[in-house]
Symmetry: D3
Subunit: 318 residues, 6 copies
């Protein structure tokens, strides 16, 4: 089972100019064959289906734990898309049909992420490979991360919205860690030195400006343990020098600190969360009081406490 933490794994920028066409392209990183739904679900179901897991515990722990990090990645991609759509769903200012690539962002969603790729095709369970054969599944995972890295690099090239760039900068670094981790696992089981295949695609991550700060913080060599209690055997697999930088790979026994999300403003033109969101806020306030909760909302958001939400809304609608 999981516990949820109401924070993003990394800081993301606030909304700025809306970019619905760019947001449609970023969907590939959410629901594409090599998107984060695929990484999340592949590793999750491989961990569920893992047989004789005690005997192969370090590998079970590795797959299970990376699965947990991937949940945070679908969250980050969604955050980027929602940020890019913010301002495009305000009352009387929906984009013209010819300016969007994915009309369902507005018709089916409320200026919100869809479980689709960049062509509007829904993610589907066929993208999950869980054969039960450990070497094959790990080989698959290494390849999947390679494809994911390729896609992230190209989304980086094609979309220049700050949210897309912040997203791909971070995911390239973290995806790189997973690519290394699975390669190490295959090496441990077969003896093949996959480290020589890095980087693939052959552009080093440190050439990407938005990756820089994360590499400086060592994010490229750390495998976080996303559990307070379990998955203790990661270091049995994740060790040795990083194939690109030579830094020693490192297991961190806790999750990253992360950052609160922005409370993205209502988009009344698409009824998110309502045509008149203030009414919902009033109801919520009343319910909170009835339940003996604090007067102010207890959640922590990036734009808390001092009118940032309103300023943002003004900025966006200006």
């Amino acid at each position: 089972m999981i516990l949820r933490v109401d924070r993003l794994q990394t800081e993301m920028p606030p909304p700025s100019d809306p970019d619905p066409a760019g947001a449609a392209v970023v969907q590939e990183l959410l629901g594409g064959k090599f998107g984060e739904m695929s990484t999340f679900m592949n590793y999750t179901f491989q961990s569920f289906n893992f047989r004789a897991r005690q005997g192969a515990r370090p590998f079970f722990d590795l797959v299970s734990n990376i699965a947990a990090e991937e949940f945070g990645h679908i969250e980050l991609v969604s955050t980027a898309i929602n940020t890019m759509l913010t301002g495009a769903g305000e009352r009387n200012s929906l984009p013209d049909p010819e300016d969007v690539l994915n009309p369902q962002h507005f018709i089916a969603g409320g200026a919100g992420t869809l479980v689709q790729d960049s062509n509007g095709k829904p993610w589907n369970g066929d993208y999950v490979t869980s054969t039960g054969d450990l070497v094959e599944d790990l080989t698959h995972n290494f390849f999947l991360e390679t494809g994911a890295r390729n896609n992230k690099l190209k989304v980086y090239e094609m979309v220049d919205h700050p949210a897309a760039r912040a997203l791909t900068g971070y995911l390239l670094v973290r995806g790189g860690v997973h690519q290394v981790a699975y390669a190490r696992a295959v090496e441990n089981l077969t003896g093949a030195d996959l480290m020589k295949m890095f980087p693939s695609p052959r552009i080093p991550t440190d050439k990407i400006p938005e990756c820089g700060p994360h590499i400086e913080k060592g994010e490229h060599k750390k495998l976080y343990r996303f559990s307070r209690s379990d998955y203790l055997e990661l270091a049995a697999v994740f060790s040795g020098p990083h194939p690109e930088t030579g830094d020693e790979l490192e297991v961190v026994d806790e999750p990253p600190v992360g950052a609160p999300a922005f409370d993205l403003p209502a988009q009344e033109g698409v009824f998110a969360p309502d045509y008149a969101p203030a009414e919902i806020a009033e109801i919520a306030e009343r319910l909170r009081k009835q339940a003996g909760l604090p007067d102010e909302p207890t959640g922590v958001v990036a734009n808390d406490g001092n009118g940032v939400v309103d300023k943002l809304k003004n900025a966006v609608s200006a």
Copy 2:
């Protein structure tokens, strides 16, 4: 983001006679339109896409927190399917084609769960409704839980394998809590008294023997908080009498204790985790030592420590 706990939300039975046709039917609860992938992903993406969440915090917390519980449900359905397939993938004893409904359990998987429904159709992102309109999304969720309950009842009727029965017994009770929770949320926002719609389908859960022990433990009236730090405002929505039993609804500020999973035995006939799993265990042991980890695997499984795995395998293959 999430943290992962290597335990199931409830105890599940060990493998017994394999039942591949039954396992194919149980897939509906995993990847069907009303299966647990749908509940998990609907609430997850609704929480990601939630706009003006501070103002609507109790509702955001409710959706986000139930999403977290649903991860445990896809885990439980997978556990049931894998349990039912155990013994059907052993060397030289794969089932005859005419005895299976879903051959991919053995050809694509390693006697393992697929991200499909009972007709072998992959789950897809089209099953996610996330409109951003709070009342609509909550109405949807209430309906989705109703459909899920219908499906669980029927799988219960059609499949009598102990793992399927244990699964549906538990999920009917927990799904019922979510059905109530979303109904209460709609009531709070609109004033409509959806409590009168319970039970739907109109068969009370307490008629199901496998639900009994869970109801006795009060599982039908508790909403667990699946977070150590967040989602503090559940009680603002989840309160009042249970529509069927009259018990007071209750928020529990921690996750359920749960139970360890069985370490399901290798199925060498489908190479899960290998044609010769002992070799993998040897490699793992060596890696564990190199990393300074304990000699014995650190993971906790239901059949730990005293040869239960071997006995099970004997029992199954007998």
Copy 3:
């Protein structure tokens, strides 16, 4: 727009022994590429999309009118499937998973028809060809009816349940009329003598015992006008000798008389229409009275008035 008549286009047999595997095969005639959803939707959308229809009125009338008949065909296929499933969804007697081909008949449906083919794949809009080019659309329609006839013949061969046989016997005759009609339309526009292609597949319908009574009634040469007011120009296309029998083709200026449907009994094991259907009947009776309607239900069904429903239920459950 349409008006609906609560009658089937032909008489169908009452439920007898359930045949869930056969019902799954019959689904091909509902939701397969060459099934009745395809014929209905192809002609319907071709009629909606028909440009310059005044100038081509006889052809517009033909396509529009046959579309209307096809609604009755999806109704008949559903009736056959539901009849074949009756008795397989009763309380405590759902079929074993290994005895079904399509578990969703019971899990997703209430022993009811699905919008799927015989492999459980949903019908989809890709099966509609509506190019706007009249000759091409009519050529398509001729081919579609040919494929539909092929499928019906094979379902006839493979499934021997009385409902399946009654269904295919009728549909072969009526589909044959449409095949002739579209061939005549192409002939009229191009001069090619498609009559020489009949029968295709090359087995004459009169070899099928279940077709006999319909042919005796001349159903193979009549095109019914499914409108009280419109589509008056059918005879401009539908005329000349029938390619197999030599009978003169004939336009009938009204719909067929048809027959009432059986009121198929409740299947309480799958909650259709409820776990306790008598309660619904009570509510309905009360509502009927409140509205000043007659005490007895006003609908006409094949098994009306004298306890046939109960007898049927007994027969089925015996």
Copy 4:
């Protein structure tokens, strides 16, 4: 079975400036999850699959009858799309690829409607929920109409072509009637007062200018009976005050008068109905004479008799 009437349920505007991108967005109302194909097919198959329908006659009549109205809705959406595409498929003036969202409007179709959503994904049978459980199916239908209303409102916001506005204005009013009808049905069966959930989304229809004329005519409170002979028990369910206006709900024992469709001009650039449509008209004229039909086409269209077609074509191509 059905009878067909060659009229639209409401008047639609003639073609004006083509709007292919807007037409692609309107496709969501045709083939989207919450589009009219979904409403039509859900209610149609629920009526086919309805067990013990005599006992539950008022509900059977309600579902069956609304199904019939929905056919008129897919017809209206198609009419709007075709109207918006008119002028974009003329010889030597097809739109540039970068000005369209759905190229298949021109490549697969003849400037005609596709059975797809706004992302070009085909409608599929998975969008049909027909569980056989009456309360659940009605709950579903209420939710489906809620989602449909949400989609219509957003298409209204996003697309300003007169045909799209006329369409959504009408459908919002009529869909509202169905939303109320299903809510009333659930109320009757369970006692829950769903009337309090209106309007959902929470924007009253009378705020939409294009809804005004229909509301003035009382279209928001009338349930038409789309049958000359059957479905007599609608009033047992559809009664009481309208939840938004307080007007008494009303069953009208005949279909609406409706209006003739425009005979949309040929689009020779996409061969609809031909590269040289006049030749088809000549053949049709000859056939009509041979069959003893009147010299002039018998069909009634909005632009009949006085050269309107030609004028329209000139207007469009100007």
Copy 5:
């Protein structure tokens, strides 16, 4: 089995201005229902599945041999798409999201063809009709070629890039041959004179400028034998006058001479074939030497030997 020849069936133009939106439209001819994947795979599987083929040898040979030509057609469509995408994937110059219709050309592919239609929907096996009934399969093939011709004509109208025009000019002529061939086959088996249905759509190919040179070379009346050893009985079916020109149909006992493909330049912005393609060339050179192969690449390309690749790249990036 097949042998492969590294030549295109006809000459194609070099890359010029990139046209990503046009390339997305041309995808319909690759992966659409009536695209070349459909023709290739329909005839291929019909030939595999052909029963009693000795007795029906001329028909088996016809279908098998046309299948072989169709491989060359998917190759040509891909060539056109890749040509149109060339220049749009260069480093730092990827197109803006709003200028593309199919972002996956750049995110999933390397400025390369996808197995999709013009809406980004993957081609699927449902587009294959292989009933085994010879008359029906041939009728289908005639219709399929008709639909393919319709699609090609419309892509010709909508996309004016030189590569798209060269492609459709050639395919219209060659597809016309197949349309005639299948019509003749049906005629031979049934006696119906399908020659009267030509041309369909009713625009003669010789009106298309890009078809002219191919017609002059007699490409419209020749059926090439794509085998050195087999399929000797084509002339038993493919004979008689061409339905449009009256020329005598002709079997050519060898494949067309064809032309070498352009070696399309690297697109480094999408890592095709690499971020630094020169490194791959160096490795290849070394491997070639080690294997005792000539110093220069042995392959023949249209832009061989004299720096054309570089010039092209300059031209494109200018």
Copy 6:
């Protein structure tokens, strides 16, 4: 382009007892994610999309040439399926619905192969990965062959029909060659020693009895050149010792000799090739004569000349 040779790449057994359920399982090797349609289409489109191919000629030649061999593999899988279905489609002896897994073999096909996987899901273009990045595409191909080998091994285990065993025996050996070839290609480009990953899954091919004869003939170490004229640089990549046997890898400069296919008997119960196939044979004979072709069919089949077809039919129907 391609040339076609009317021979199979290896000898296949004649029809024996029909095995429709087994045939449904074998479909996974045709249309599954890791089936031969996937290998064929991945390499084919990678070759079409290959940029700067002259510089990377040995790799282009490798991918292009293996693509050509894969056509022969889809042909072999189809042959196996059709062989297994033979006898199950004879007049009046179609299998009962409960004895089949894929009813479309008989309803849609004529006891013939479908372009589907073992769950009846159509193969689709999403299974093609063609990124243009050479290292990534080759890594993918190595993984794809690994998955394909896994699937073949399991089909071997699950299906014991002689045709399935002959098929998997051959494909395991030939697929192994491709797995090695792509691994060598990656090694050459990156230096990683993937040879250490063999065999994967870790069961050596020589343990499979049906592989033995092929290994004895050296089929496990030979890469055939499937071109008379091109793809001359295979040896630059395909060289060195075989990772399992140590034998030197070897390029053979011509295709394998192969064997003629059996002329599978008509299945009149499913109209393949007709309800009365003798009539087709008569027409064919007449056409052959008219065209001046030999009296006897010119094609070569395994059961030629001496009544084998009839004997087979007797054997099967006995």
